[in-house]
């Protein structure tokens, strides 16, 4: 365990972050979301697949606070379970992007030269396809399902992460303490792990937070288009797709899932912005 030293970098960052009310709000909302996802089976009044065809298309009522969909399923419950899906995809997709993209970027930035050239060429090719399109293509190639959706979104986000990490690493590699570490006989892996990555952590953390938001958006978009999570599994984007045909008569079906996406994204953005401001106070408003 580590103790939080007073006036250490981490301490100062947390203090600055706590002063940012929006960021704190975002953090609280996110924690609530995580709790909702974890405790979904206990929180949701119904199972997400429970159908009650007689009660289909019911607007919000006491029995169904957010109404029912075209199959009589309780929308509130589906949104609660949907939090699980969204958070899982968001976090694991970014984890994939961060780990693989980060390693590639670190190698690229550290060694430079040919390796950098080759890796960045490949990244450039991937980046020349708009990210959603890449995710769509990968998702289609892999087939439907939660795992495949996560991989698709993660791989599509990988090149951007590689770029960011490469940039951060390159700015550190040029500095003299790296040279000093080499003179001490440290191996490349040691230097990367002990010296470079800790100094890059700030931009990586900020990017990760913002990328989770984008990943959740991408997952929702893919499900909206019909790739990714298949019914009856609840995914907010998929729910929007299903409700779209009924927007004329049953508007409430479309409003709530979208609202869930919006609130999640906003919370993540507030937190990400707050982290960025807290970690780099030079970048004042």
């Amino acid at each position: 365990m580590f103790t939080l030293r007073k006036n250490s970098n981490l301490h100062l960052t947390l203090v600055r972050l706590s002063r940012n009310r929006l960021a704190v709000l975002g953090l609280i909302v996110l924690l609530l979301l995580v709790a909702t996802a974890v405790f979904a089976p206990w929180l949701a009044p119904y199972h997400f697949a429970t159908q009650d065809l007689l009660a289909a298309f019911e607007p919000p009522s006491w029995a169904h606070p957010l109404g029912t969909d075209d199959f009589g399923r309780d929308i509130l419950s589906r949104i609660i379970y949907g939090a699980r899906v969204s958070l899982q995809v968001g976090i694991f997709a970014v984890a994939i992007a961060m780990v693989f993209g980060g390693v590639l970027g670190a190698i690229s930035g550290y060694y430079g030269g040919r390796i950098d050239g080759v890796i960045m060429r490949v990244m450039d090719i991937l980046l020349s396809i708009p990210q959603i399109l890449l995710a769509i293509s990968i998702a289609a190639a892999l087939g439907p399902g939660l795992l495949n959706l996560t991989i698709a979104v993660g791989v599509a986000a990988l090149p951007t992460f590689a770029r960011v990490v490469r940039g951060a690493v390159m700015s550190i590699v040029g500095q003299e303490f790296i040279e000093a570490a080499r003179c001490m006989g440290a191996s490349d892996a040691w230097i990367i792990a002990r010296h470079i990555l800790p100094n890059c952590s700030a931009p990586i953390i900020v990017q990760s937070t913002l990328r989770v938001a984008q990943a959740i958006l991408a997952a929702a978009a893919l499900s909206f288009l019909g790739l990714g999570i298949q019914p009856p599994f609840p995914e907010w984007g998929g729910m929007l797709a299903g409700a779209r045909g009924y927007v004329r008569d049953y508007a409430y079906m479309t409003i709530f899932p979208g609202l869930a996406i919006m609130i999640t994204i906003m919370a993540l953005n507030f937190l990400g912005d707050g982290l960025r401001d807290a970690m780099d106070p030079k970048m004042k408003r």
Partner: protein
Amino acid sequence: MFPYLIRRILAMIPVAVGVSLIIFTLLYITPGDPARLFLGQEANEESLQEFRREHGLDKPFLTRYLSFAYDVVVHQDLGRSYATRRPVSGEIASTFPVTLNLSLGAIALATALGMTFGVVCAVKQYSIFDNVTMVIAMLGISTPIFYLGILLILWFSVRLRWLPSSGFDTMSQRLLPWITLSATSMSIITRMTRSSMLEVIRSDYIRTARAKGQKESVIIIKHALRNALIPIITIVGIQLGHLMGGSILAESVFSIPGVGRLAVDGIKARDYPVVQGAVLYIAMAYMVLNLIVDFLYAWVDPRLRTRYR
């Protein structure tokens, strides 16, 4: 300037090859047999084989890719759709202008309005306008395109009946898609413009301009904005990618016959040639737009011009 331009265009070639290779590979590993999909479950083995032979599906990967590449480069032939049997290039030719119109309209709207709002917010920092705009911008960034589209349809088509909810031919049809697609980018551009302007306004050369006795309005436009443009153009470049991807979603929500929808429908139907052609086209368009943005950079920032000799 020209040698640089030529070099950039030549650099696009390996990227195009890479993109086509990636798409080809992805399609290759996609589960599902096109022959069966297009001929139906009852088709006999004979006709399935016929279909496969006709479309080269029985050949190994490399042969298929090389013959595809050959067709594209030498004959400008992107193949034929499995479903309609019509040339893919024809399908793209009819849908691409629509997507272009949608995307460019959205980026123009996002840039023009975004920069205007951003400048006003920066000049009137902390005012009510500033605070309200920043809140709206945050909402704009967090709202998915497809959600905003549905909401706008709900409000303007269903409730108010002012605007149609699909199609892209008339101006009234184009309004909602343009607004929907531009919303996120406009919000980001507004925020970026504001922060860039705030930073520039603190610069020493702005102080010099004031000491010259220059009017504040001229200082904002001629001195501050021109310098603030540099990071703004970076953002616009990034937004182009999001916009091209987002156009796929907008086309889905508003039933617009564009390349994005062509690609998605093609993917769902395993119509490989259509998907290859569409994705290749979108990627190339994106690259060209990026090139234009790069040149815009050089025009705005004279410090970069030496790079472009």
